[in-house]
Subunit: 187 residues, 2 copies
DNA sequence: TCGTGCATTGACAGAACGGTCAATGTTTTT
DNA sequence: AAAAACATTGACCGTTCTGTCAATGCACGA
């Protein structure tokens, strides 16, 4: 039962950290919100930072799995899938629990590049870039790395602006921009 | 002298908050770093939040002034100026003190849209959007609002990724993407 | 039935948090 | 020179922070 308890804790902590910030949410309130006493939490994780890292690992897996699945459900060809990425973003933005990207927030609160939390955030984005890179290559882009980096720009920008203002047409704007960039690469 | 003392305080606080986060940096350390005692700070600002709002007001003015000036120095025609925006971003990213955008970080730490700090961040981005909008209109874009929103996506994305990874080619990638989007609008 | 081991707990420690206040300079006015 | 006005300070308040620990409950094997 210990493993599943731990997973439950991380899953609940994910939700709590998503609402409050990392520094803003203390361990006492976290204990209350997860229903796990502080001492029990510290049995599983040596420090708050370790717990945050576990939360980010779960979130990385969760988010990338979800995105790949949704994209594959929405479109078949690599070209269409690249566009579908922005449709999935739109779905995400419209969720009532949407509160920006946990990794962008993490890198905002842990600015030092050598900090493990910052490194975890960077790694997550690197993996997303890799995914777009693969799609761009399969779609036959002339410069797949460049296209992937540019689509990453649109994606991160969309996340930030959807959180700052209301979601509105942001995902659609990003999708249209992505289409234009793909056009330019002969897709 | 009171007015200038206050301005000094805000200017120094701006630097300090830029290094540490908003929640992460306490008032005691802030007092030490600014050289102004805590009591003196609270003479000028009722709460920490008020000080943060003053810092953000200064940063908004500072940043937008700097960007407009640099852009006008780098290019004359509206079309060239739109591209020059991304050159100025590149200059910013390469500064050793670059630590992402203060407003993105603010909206990360103050997620509630009704929170004054979040609102200040949203307003800053709205003003930047307005600036791009004006340039896009002057350049003769077919859909200037749309183009401005898309360039905002590239800009915010570039800031986030330049902070997460190293600056690298990010500003150049964003500039190339902007050129493609402007092409599409007949510019 | 009695231990043995493990999970859980409330209370606590020491430091740091935002914010306040009486006391002490330091000007400025008369 | 005396006094009124202002600026600044270190010490302090109650709370909350991360992290700890002795005590308790509880399952399970002998």
């Amino acid at each position: 039962m210990s493993a599943s308890k731990r997973e439950d804790l991380v899953r609940n902590a994910l939700k709590s950290f998503n609402r409050g910030g990392f520094h803003a949410l203390g361990m006492d309130r976290l204990a209350k919100e997860t229903g796990v006493s502080k001492t029990a939490i510290y049995k599983h994780f040596r420090t708050k930072e370790d717990l945050i890292l576990a939360v980010l690992r779960l979130r990385d897996e969760q988010f990338r799995n979800w995105m790949v699945r949704r994209v594959e459900a929405l479109a078949q060809s690599p070209r269409e899938q690249l566009l579908a990425v922005f449709d999935t973003l739109g779905e995400w933005f419209d969720e009532p629990e949407f509160r920006s990207c946990m990794f962008i927030k993490a890198s905002s609160e842990y600015q030092d590049h050598s900090h493990p939390v910052h490194a975890a955030a960077a790694e997550h984005k690197r993996l997303l870039n890799q995914y777009l890179n693969r799609l761009a290559g399969a779609a036959g882009a002339e410069a797949p790395e460049m296209l992937a980096r540019q689509l990453m720009l649109l994606m991160e920008g969309a996340i930030v602006l959807a959180h700052l203002h209301a979601p509105g047409t942001i995902a659609a704007d990003a999708r249209a921009a992505a289409a234009a960039l793909m056009d330019q690469q002969g897709l």
